[in-house]
Amino acid sequence: MAEIGHGGKEIVERILEPAEAAEKIKGLKAIPIRSQIANEVIDISYGWFTPLQGFMNKADADGVCRSTQLADGTVWSIPIIFDMTEAQISDYGIKEGDTVLLTYMDNPMAIFEIEDIWSYDMEDMCQCIFGTADQKHPGVLRTCGYKEKFLGGKITLVNRPKINPPYDAYFIPPLEMRKKFKEKGWQASVVHQTRNVPHTGHEWLMKGAWAQAYGGLPIEKPIVGVLVNAIIGAKRKGDYIDEAIILCQDELRKSGYFADYNHMTSLTFWDMRYAGPKEAIFHACIRVNLGLTHHMYGRDHAGVGDYYDPYDAHRLLQSIPKEKLNITPVYSMNWLYCPHCGEITNEGLCGHKKEWQKFSGTLIRSIVMDGVKPPRLIFRPEVFDLVMECAEKYGFGSPFVTDKYLENRTPVFSIEPLSA
């Protein structure tokens, strides 16, 4: 049976088997790509980006900028574009109608059928997507750093990425994810978007969202689950290392704060654009493809600095009808510690406002940096121990990203020689 993804389009993996791949790439010009593009090639090929079948042509990118939709009217909010300099295009002798081979780590990765070569006013694009052209905005900086020309056209993966441990267990593409949801019997599933090691504030965000997603469903057997979907991509110094994020999220289930029948952890490859409301829509699209019914949104989802009002994303989501974006947003109020209640509670629930002690991921990182183990009500001891283990095993002594980590870490995935 066809799996229907975002925009009402069938999810189709665009992946060739090795023998066919070896045949198809013969004689193609090889063009190396950087990690951002490699991530997006995977997202396109496995269906995370359904209905996109490749990098955008000008009509789609322009539609995204002008009206948050593709040329065919499907809701889409972030341009997925392949950039190149004019000189590179001429050196490679690329023209519309050509088919080339994209390589990563010096090995064949994907076939790219170039349909459109185009350019765009990038300051205008930034204004449309980020609401600003300020170069201090990390998404603007990235977007304005693109080369001056863009190539649009279909992508077909010729070589499946080898996902390296400890990430391999968490690479669950859309079709496989939908199978898992069926096996688990989940009739509703809510996604937690994260780039963090969880503290109990996050844990309760998920637990609260689980209850919201349960709504009026029958409770005789467990039929609602939480999917942690960690965004794995470009890192900034001081972030938690990726290994700690993915393993610690899963630790909440392994240590019983959740259970097999209501919690799962997975990853999506994506370099965050910090586009706030527009990124919130984009996250919804990829989670529709993963088969989720509900999406958690806290305050300032995917925001940065003070570019966005904390509830801009919620308002934009509310303006899009369900038939155009088939996922139900679950808005979450903040969880905090109340010494009077002696527990983690919600700012919408507890009346001891004067006594509230709010905490953030940043505060917890500070506590960990001071060498202090927070109490279990704030940070689970199993998670703390695992963060420290990850620091030793993967982080060169630090649970946070350092220059040394960036230089020496094991890549999340590798593209190996094509074995036909």
């Binding site: 001081g238 903040n334 990182r365 060498g371 109490p375 704030i378």
Partner: protein, 99 residues
């Protein structure tokens, strides 16, 4: 309205607690977040701006706690030692004069 003051949280681990006890300053600790001991050193606007400039990893948590976070451990150790030395958490001007 009084000028806003921004805390730097010096979380008290065993090593720091020993030092405080030796200096008879253990009473200076407050309890936060389900029993964690902390000493808060407060910065005014000018001090906050200087700290964020001198220590680029530091972050002012605008949204949740309105505190200055992510100072390197050795910087926080130095601030902590200054508190012990002066027997008082009001040491930031003194501490920042070296930068």
């Amino acid at each position: 309205m009084a000028e806003e003051k921004y805390p730097i949280n010096l979380w008290v681990n065993e090593e720091r607690y020993d030092k405080l006890q030796k200096a008879n300053l253990a009473d200076m600790c407050a309890e936060k977040l389900a029993g964690m001991k902390v000493i808060q050193v407060f910065a005014n606007d000018a001090q906050k701006d200087k700290i964020l400039k001198v220590f680029p990893t530091a972050k002012f948590d605008t949204a949740t706690t309105r505190s200055i976070e992510l100072l390197p451990k050795k910087v926080k150790d130095a601030i902590f030692d200054k508190v012990i030395e002066k027997q008082n958490p009001d040491i930031l001007d003194d501490f920042l004069s070296a930068y």
